[in-house]
Amino acid sequence: MPKIRSEKSSEGHSSQYENILKKNKKSKRLAEFKKTFPMYLMLIPGVIYLVCNNYLPMFGILIAFKKVNFSIGVLKSPWVGLSNFRFLFETKDAWIMIRNTLAYNAVFIILGMAIAIFVALCMAEISNRGIAKIIQPIICFPSMVSAVILSFIVYAFLSTTYGFVNRTFFPDSPINWYATAKYWPFILTIVHFWQVTGQSSIIYMASIGGIDKELYEAARIDGASKFKQIWHITLPLLKPMMTLMLLLSIGRIFNSDFGLFYQVPLGSGLLYNTTQTIDTYVYRALLELNNVGMSSAASVFQAIIGFLLVILSNALVRKIDKENALF
């Protein structure tokens, strides 16, 4: 542009030219605006929802550093620093719930992976596709029902007076399951795997389905047994998926299935020692004990550690397999 402007003789000409350019720019911007404005409009409902549902609660973590008094409002409540956390970690509950959350998750992750792969391997060995097509939906169905239904099912087995287990195996000395904490690690593990095994094996079934069949044929020609084929072909090829699943679940190791740990034991107070997890504690402190301070302290503790773990596990996933990293 400066070149045109410097030439005096064509001044009138150039301003006209600039005008056209300006107009063009304006209409271009207008066109751009016309094009993008509806897109912003489309985002509005979702953004409002994200703000209300996700981002406002993020600021809500400040509650953990306050002594909340609803009569003067959350914002005006006095700051108390870390004292909510100090109180929380002085109780025995803190230790119990962290221990339970981590221990259950460790069992669920390790045993869960072994069971899921075992089931996927067995499914792959069923030569009759028709039968496999019937079995797969059946073993996936338990994951479709809610924790409330689950609690009814467990109750049908464990009810002290009528329960199937007591009537069938202990008719003379019925066990009061809902009052005996020591059985619950086993009960919850069984219930958990009953519910998730089908679904968690699907992902491995899909991976096994994607393996090149020629590999097995070559192995068979070389005289490899079924077991050897699985050991030397299938499992090594499943390794990336296993690593991915492992890392993803490590990111959630401080979280637990609220329904399983709260509703299935019917919220029984006698079972806290083996059924209390961080999630059930947060709920109980908030709505049963009305102790907002303790509840928010536990909840924020979980959120922050969870966040760090997700970042960490994602960094590891990224290192191993960039394709599958979340970010």
Binding site: K35, T36, P38, M39, Y40, M42, P45, G46, Y49, L50, C52, N53, N54, L56, P57, F59, G60, I61, I63, V119, C122, M123, I134, I135, P137, I138, I139, C140, P142, M144, V145, S146, V148, I149, S151, F152, A156, F157, T161, Y162, G163, F164, R167, Y178, W194, Q199, I202, A206, F258, G259, Q263, G267, V282, Y283, L286, S299, V300, A303, F307, L326
Partner: protein, 281 residues
């Protein structure tokens, strides 16, 4: 494998069997896998209680239908601009979604936001909105589907023909992305149908009970009566007023029934969901 399938089915069968037994056979013989004395009494009882149960059922259906449709609309509306390469802020917005997936304020904070700021306690909104209206993961799923399966040339052609952004979204993107919308729609519907925690946190008005909350409260009252002194007369009376053992299981059965009806469709999606999720945009 067949054993495993039986193991997965047996508990449902036990429920069904209990719901079809007479009360007398249950109190003498306990729960068993085959009804010792066969009867439909439990289902007659449900019919007698049809207004209470029907109401809970109706609310659940309403919430499931409205929630699922809103969820699909919000998700696809949000995913479309994100999929457009000529929409500049899309990376910033994608990050906002990522961040909401990684970090959350936890139950206490969202409970206080929803109840103290928005006052949704004991309203139908409490069943529809918190936590379940739009999922970050689904937005990314739909965006990836838009990117991978709908060629940009179609959009360009429509633009040349003078179609606006909304028109393209409504007439091109939505019809062409039916598979992914079916997948997330079915899972959203399942989520709404099975959701009992929103009812637990925010609903105390019996008129707004969903079928899941109704079942949960039924279980609570039984646990409470069992723990209180049965010998006390009022507790014994209250216990008698509650539905019989068989009726309770019958209600649970009719809460599973709708899931069973749509399960063939969901079952297909279980695998497909994985495939779609695996497509990277």
């Amino acid at each position: 494998m067949i054993l495993l399938a039986l193991y997965c089915l047996a508990p449902f069968f036990l429920m069904l069997s209990v719901s079809l037994s007479t009360e007398h056979s249950l109190s003498t013989g306990g729960y068993s896998f085959w009804p010792r004395e066969f009867s439909f009494a439990a289902y007659d009882y449900l019919w007698a209680k049809r207004f209470t149960i029907g109401r809970a059922y109706g609310i659940t259906i309403f919430v499931t239908v409205v929630g699922t449709i809103t969820n699909l609309l919000l998700t696809s509306l949000f995913a479309y601009p994100l999929s457009r390469k000529d929409f500049k802020p899309r990376n910033v917005i994608a990050f906002i979604i990522f961040f909401s997936l990684m970090f959350n304020g936890g139950l206490t904070a969202s409970y206080i936001v929803w109840t103290r700021l928005f006052h949704i306690k004991n309203t139908i909104w409490a069943l529809l909105i918190p936590g379940s209206l739009m999922g970050g993961m689904n937005i990314l799923l739909v965006r990836n589907y838009f990117n991978a399966n709908i060629p940009y040339s179609i959009i360009e052609a429509a633009q040349i023909d003078g179609a606006g952004v909304f028109r393209i979204y409504w007439r091109i993107m939505l019809p062409l992305s039916k598979p992914v919308l079916t997948t997330i729609g079915l899972f959203a519907a399942l989520g709404y149908w099975n959701n009992w925690t929103n009812g637990l946190y925010y609903i105390s008005d019996t008129k707004l009970y969903t079928i899941q909350v109704y079942l949960k409260k039924l279980m609570d009252s039984i646990a409470f009566l069992k723990s209180s002194d049965i010998a006390s007369e009022s507790a014994a009376l209250a216990y008698k007023a509650f539905p019989m053992e068989s009726a309770r299981m019958a209600i649970a059965i009719i809460a599973i029934l709708p899931i069973l009806l749509v399960y063939p469709f969901i079952q297909k999606e279980l695998v497909k969901g994985l495939v779609i999720g695996g497509v990277k945009g």
